[in-house]
Symmetry: C2
Subunit: 442 residues, 2 copies
Amino acid sequence: MSGFLFTIVTVLLAAKIGGELFERWSQPAVLGELVSGILIGNLGLAGITALDGWKTNESLALVAEIGVILLLFEVGLESELGELLAVGKSAAAVAALGVIAPVVLGYSVSSWFLPGSQWYVHLFAGATLAATSVGITARVLRDLGKIDTGEARIILGAAVLDDVLGLVILAVVSGLVRSIDAVGTAKLTIGPLLTITGKAISFLILAVVAGRLLGGWLLRVGSRARIRGMSVALSVSYCFALAGLAEVIGLAPIVGAFAAGLVLNESHFAGYTRMCARRFEEIVLPISSVFTPVFFVFMGLKVDLRSFTSWHVVLFAAGLSLAAIAGKQLCSAGVFEKGLNRLAVGVGMIPRGEVGLIFAGIGSSLAAAGKPVFSSDTFSAMVLMVMVTTLATPPLLKALFGKQDSQTSPRGAIGVPADTREKSGGRESRRRYKPRATSKPS
Amino acid sequence: MSGFLFTIVTVLLAAKIGGELFERWSQPAVLGELVSGILIGNLGLAGITALDGWKTNESLALVAEIGVILLLFEVGLESELGELLAVGKSAAAVAALGVIAPVVLGYSVSSWFLPGSQWYVHLFAGATLAATSVGITARVLRDLGKIDTGEARIILGAAVLDDVLGLVILAVVSGLVRSIDAVGTAKLTIGPLLTITGKAISFLILAVVAGRLLGGWLLRVGSRARIRGMSVALSVSYCFALAGLAEVIGLAPIVGAFAAGLVLNESHFAGYTRMCARRFEEIVLPISSVFTPVFFVFMGLKVDLRSFTSWHVVLFAAGLSLAAIAGKQLCSAGVFEKGLNRLAVGVGMIPRGEVGLIFAGIGSSLAAAGKPVFSSDTFSAMVLMVMVTTLATPPLLKALFGKQDSQTSPRGAIGVPADTREKSGGRESRRRYKPRATSKPS
């Protein structure tokens, strides 16, 4: 027990220290958590091998998995289904192009660098490049005072659709890999492809329909209960139940968690806030802020810095980064409005961040024909791609939007509890520019 | 993964449904969680054996263990060190008598019913009877409008000391059992007894001294951090670190968790609240309200209802219950003030509840000479004792304090979020009658 406790304490503190330092250096906190993990995971290079067991520690893996499930639940909670359906023509076109192009480019780069690998490895590599982590862009645009521009609205609208498309692709690709593993054939046939796509889409639709009925009931029961903690227990149960269900039907648990969040968010608007029910985000935040950083540290642990002594890995990472950046530039073709800075839209879609890491993590844990889809080298290259795209975006955006508003972000004022401020560089920041009708009675 | 997720969801929902039902029947929620566990654990009697594996499920055991650590952290947070040191003469005498008498009586009952067992089994049985779970009494007294009486103040003051004494006894007894297991001799010698007592007391003192320095720093860092969730991560880390440390030096992890809470509570008064830092209790509550119920359900799972078909077990449970009740009646000898209802003080100390369950759980998981200290039958008898003492107290108190105020508890008003109301029948209720100087600057 004490071993487990000390491991969690170290990981948690490392994550928070890394996150806080990066934040103070005006970088996304999630990269700080990742770098902390990379440092711990490569202590072996400095002769310290005592912590090497953590990479395969099952309890830590369990906590990390719960962390990523809760993270996607939060992402779902913060994505508004209503807005998603009512999103502008440009945002939809930007999202679609911004998913298709990186998948195609990523597939090509992967087949160039890994000629001996099967088609599904390349497809998974392409899928990892698909989804934007818009929190970083949103933060930079807010700091620049540009959050209300047309460009920002398109980027933020597209990013929500982007998440959904990315998760459908993940569901399909990982479903295909699982069916390959079961059947033993690596040929892409139309049958399983259709089955899995159908499964993924109908799961999302069913979850939304069921959740519309359930969400309001959950809030009502939670706020009327006499025992404490009913709301948080019900929210977490609902998230875990859908995550488990997703896995049972052959999808990734995070797809279920995302669907659970998407639905509870929506039901929030049904008027239950008049009963003083707290918002689900607030209910879930204290738990997810303990579990989620463990996931990012755990991803960092798996990065072997020695991979980067190989030119092949470094060039592969560079190729993936270029594909990731170029792929999103095609987005700008989807901007129909005139007078907008199309380059800025494309640049705003560049950061990969947490979603890219999640895909890379799944790629390295899924196995087909006895081998993991992503080798240790591929995983390391993917993590480097995530870091490059995430770090490159803020300076590019600042340059594009001019320097007139280049004041730095509002400093964290002493006296404001950190937990009520936005998480910077993360999903949290979405909330700011999409104020909810939380006080509006139905 | 989906197996784990579904297990947690079922356990959590069962706990909350049981807790809510008991609460609505004016019974402590913790008993509802326990009964849910007992029902699930004995589905085998109805021919449903699918869930039998849960009793030995390691992931569930881990979650339950974290739950009990967080519970004791909360108990510590709610016990005020200042009040504890300044507690009245009567409360101190009541606490001391109320610990010694049940230990002696419990030892005697155990040696009568288990003549073949070693002395440490009887000592552990006595220790399990030591600590009062005062939340239940506090709730009843508040509902009766008697929370400001002299009797209530003595009971509540004594209960805090009671927790500390109980944990010291637990530390000593479980330390002795561990040393027996290591050395292989079952003779009680003065050497290890002194070593372990010294360890336990110096651990508590050191934790308090170190924590006084650290607590304020933790709050300050937490409230100044730019990333979200720093406060909750630091609080949980501190609790886990002390719990792990306690285990390393041979004490139970909950002793460390309690010490961590005791200290952070104290530092709270040092004036950091003016920086808008949230109270630690509020920070920890959402996490503990997910983990803690799992512990009580898990304890319930381990109760084998078939034990109660044996007259020996039923009589043993009855004997233990009598010892628990009679032991606390000696308390009243410690009431020095005149004109107080001494019987009411004794009755108010009767409920065992969560602390008794924790001790029983440790007793059944600790092994000496290859055998668990508490057999399955002894564990079941202990759980029955906890249920009897907890259920018997409210009607007895109501009868003693007269019927003039016998209105039922304030109904959970719709519109008040459940999470901000007190947890009834639990530790939470202590807060109500000890308002903190949370808004007072230092």
